[in-house]
Symmetry: C2
Subunit: 195 residues, 2 copies
C-alpha cells in the first residue's frame, strides 16, 4: 500500500510518501515540504500548495491520502490556514478518485510510538527507525507527514493490537525499535514516557 | 465590474453573481446554493463544492471573487468546514487568475445596510431592493452571497463615505431604500437598529 501523508500548513506543508508491505515493513518513497510566504496573498499561497499536491499525487500515485484531522480547539492563530490547506488537499485527492483518510495527531503518535502523547522528537526517532534511515528525514518537519502515512497503513491494514499473540516480523522489528529508542519525556506531560 | 460572492459552507454554500456599474447600480446575474450531504465523506463533499465553483467561474467569468473572511472565534462546530470550503473556493479563483477579496460579515452588513450588526432579514431586504427584485432572492440563504458581491464592488469602487457631499443616483437610491426598508431589530443586540 502506498500512502501519501500530508501534514497541512500554510507556511510549511509536509508531504511524505511511504510504501507499506503486508508484513508492515515501511519504505520511504518521497518526502518534502512545500511552503508559501506571508508576503503572498492567501489565495496565491493556497495555490502554491494545491499545485504541489497535484504534482505529488500525479508523480507518486498513492493508493490513499492520509491527512491530519484538524480541530477548531487547537492553536487558533494557525487553525484557519491549516483547515483551508486541508480542504485544498482533500479536493486534489478526490478529483483523482484517491480515498482520503483522516487521523488525529494522537492516533498517529499512538500508532507510531505507542504513546498518543509522544513529543515531536520521539515521533521523528521512531519514523527514522521504522523507515530504516541512517539519519532523521529532511526537512525535519516532514517527519509528521511520514508518521501519518505509516500510521494510516498500520491502522487500516489489520488489527494493530499489542495484545494479539501473533507477531509478524515487522511487528517484532517495530517493538524492538520502540524498545531501543531513547525515551524522550513529553514536555506537556513530563510524567508520561513511552509505554 | 462583475463580482462572484461566495458565502462558504459545507452543507450549503451560497453563490451570487452581480454586475455593478460605475454609478453603483447593481444587477443580479446569477444566484444559487450548492449543497453537500452529511452522508458523503468530507473529501466528496468538498469536491461537489469545488466542481460547482469551477462551473460558476467558467460560466460567469467574474472580474473578482469576494468571499467571507472566516474567523476561528465564530461557531466552532461549523468553522472548520467553512474554512475548508473557503480554501477550495480561493484556489479555484487563483487557478484562473481571478483576484480574491476577503470581507468580514460586519463589513458586508455595514456596506449594504449601513449597520455592521444588521440581522439576516435586514440584509435580505436591502439586497432585494438594491438589485431591484420584486421578491427576495431564492434560495433564501444565497442573499448573503449577493450582499458580499455588492459590498465588495462598493467598497473597492471608490469612497463609500456617507459624509461625502456628492451623491450619485445609485447612492441616492441606496439611501432611499435604506430609509424605506422596514427596521428589523438585531436579535443578538436588540437595542441596535439601522442607522
Amino acid at each position: 500500500m502506498r500512502v501519501l501523508g500530508v501534514d497541512p500548513g500554510l507556511t510549511r506543508c509536509g508531504l511524505g510518501v511511504v510504501d507499506v508491505a503486508a508484513n508492515r515493513t515501511a519504505t520511504l518513497v518521497g518526502v518534502g515540504v512545500v511552503g508559501s510566504s506571508h508576503e503572498q496573498t492567501l489565495d496565491a499561497r493556497l495555490l502554491v500548495i494545491a499545485n504541489a499536491v497535484d504534482q505529488w499525487l500525479d508523480a507518486f500515485k498513492p493508493d490513499v491520502l492520509a491527512i491530519e484531522r484538524v480541530f477548531a480547539q487547537t492553536n487558533l492563530s494557525t487553525v484557519m490556514g491549516v483547515a483551508q490547506v486541508s480542504g485544498v488537499v482533500m479536493v486534489a485527492a478526490a478529483r483523482r478518485g484517491i480515498p482520503v483518510a483522516l487521523h488525529t495527531p494522537s492516533e498517529v503518535k499512538a500508532a507510531v510510538t505507542g504513546n498518543g502523547r509522544a513529543d515531536k522528537a520521539s515521533v521523528t526517532a521512531m519514523v527514522t527507525r521504522l523507515l530504516r534511515l541512517h539519519e532523521p528525514p529532511r526537512p525535519a518537519d516532514a517527519a509528521d507527514a511520514l508518521a501519518l502515512a505509516i500510521a494510516h497503513a498500520w491502522r487500516s491494514g489489520g488489527a494493530v493490537d499489542a495484545g494479539t499473540p501473533g507477531t509478524t516480523a515487522a511487528q517484532k522489528l517495530w517493538r524492538e525499535a520502540a524498545g531501543k529508542a531513547k525515551i524522550h519525556k513529553n514536555k506537556e506531560n513530563p510524567g508520561a514516557a513511552w509505554r
